[in-house]
Symmetry: C2
Subunit: 197 residues, 2 copies
């Protein structure tokens, strides 16, 4: 019988081959060897650049949202702005760039909220989350080809309602909102919620 109390082994990566290259990710076949069993196996890994998602709060406590048609689900999706990081790009800088390009908003301050691995089982990259405060519409839009985005804002409390009601259903967007929630509870407890000091 397998033991469930023994620590799992660190498999040794022997090498990898490209199985498919697309505009947004590459699928790798990665060969691993188990150190104890001396068996070799091939696993499939989706390799993509890191991603960034942005919680952008306006001075009147609304969040910037984007509504897009999403080809993965063949349906519309309500999300926060985000995109693909450039090689070597800082997550906060990338977040501010994506926010500006996608929505035309810029902020007065930006901090990293955290990061997750979207799927450690089959995907190598991370998704970073950036909080931008004092977000106001100040730039022209710079959409990529095929981007067609409805930009809107909703009060923060309404965004959490939309998440709880399943109207926001993108797992990574929900990760961002979870990381923002404790900061929002602090902000909402201000003596005058309309005017941050």
């Amino acid at each position: 019988m397998n033991s469930s109390t023994r620590e799992p082994a660190r498999w040794e990566k022997l090498g990898c081959v490209s199985r498919l290259k697309t505009r947004v990710f590459e699928v790798l076949g990665v060969r691993y060897r188990h150190p104890g069993r001396e068996t070799e196996r091939d696993f499939v890994v989706v390799h993509a650049p890191d991603w960034v998602n942005v919680v952008a709060r306006t001075p009147d406590d609304r969040l910037v949202l984007v509504r897009q048609f999403r080809y993965g689900i063949d349906e519309f999706s309500l999300e926060i702005p985000g995109g693909v990081m450039e090689p070597g790009e800082d997550p906060v800088a990338a977040g501010l760039r994506e926010l500006r390009e996608e929505t035309g908003y810029a902020g007065t301050s930006a901090v990293l909220l955290g990061a997750v691995h979207p799927n450690p089982a089959i995907q190598s990259n991370r998704c970073h989350f950036v909080l931008v405060d004092g977000a106001v519409r100040s730039h022209e839009l710079e959409w990529d080809a095929d981007e067609e985005i409805r930009v809107l804002t909703e009060p923060v409390a309404r965004v959490f309602e939309l998440a709880h009601a399943g109207k926001i259903f993108h797992g990574l967007v929900l990760n961002a909102l979870m990381l923002f929630a404790p900061k929002w509870r602090e902000l909402a407890a201000r003596p005058d919620p309309g005017r941050p000091v």
Copy 2:
């Protein structure tokens, strides 16, 4: 200039071809036509069965966790149990099956916490989240080939600490914990936390 206040169009799916088939997903090339622009474009979609992740709570308010080596990130990851749903399988039944096979735990009740789309931009499937209560170790393990899992339990409050500290970093596992949080707050407010009525 692009308008950001106009609703985005619903692209029309014209057809798709398989670009790569692996054990865990298929990559499709999907051809779409924009209704207004009359342009056609190919998009890439990762197609996989739905997934299920399980928040399994023991009678003494601990959660069942699994620690595995994950090939996607070439690193260990601390997660809740989960796996791939069978065609036509009910999410709750799938969650109970995965929990039993992966950890040997069974519960006294199980409910659906919710579901997300892991990545609507490039991925078609959903991940469902199931809450199992009264979870106790009662079965032999039935691991798939290559599965090597450390099964452990931690107090619920400790699991949330691990998530906040970035020790649990799987985006979908964090989605599950976010959905479980309000239920836990209710449970934690019980007069006698050790004995649910």
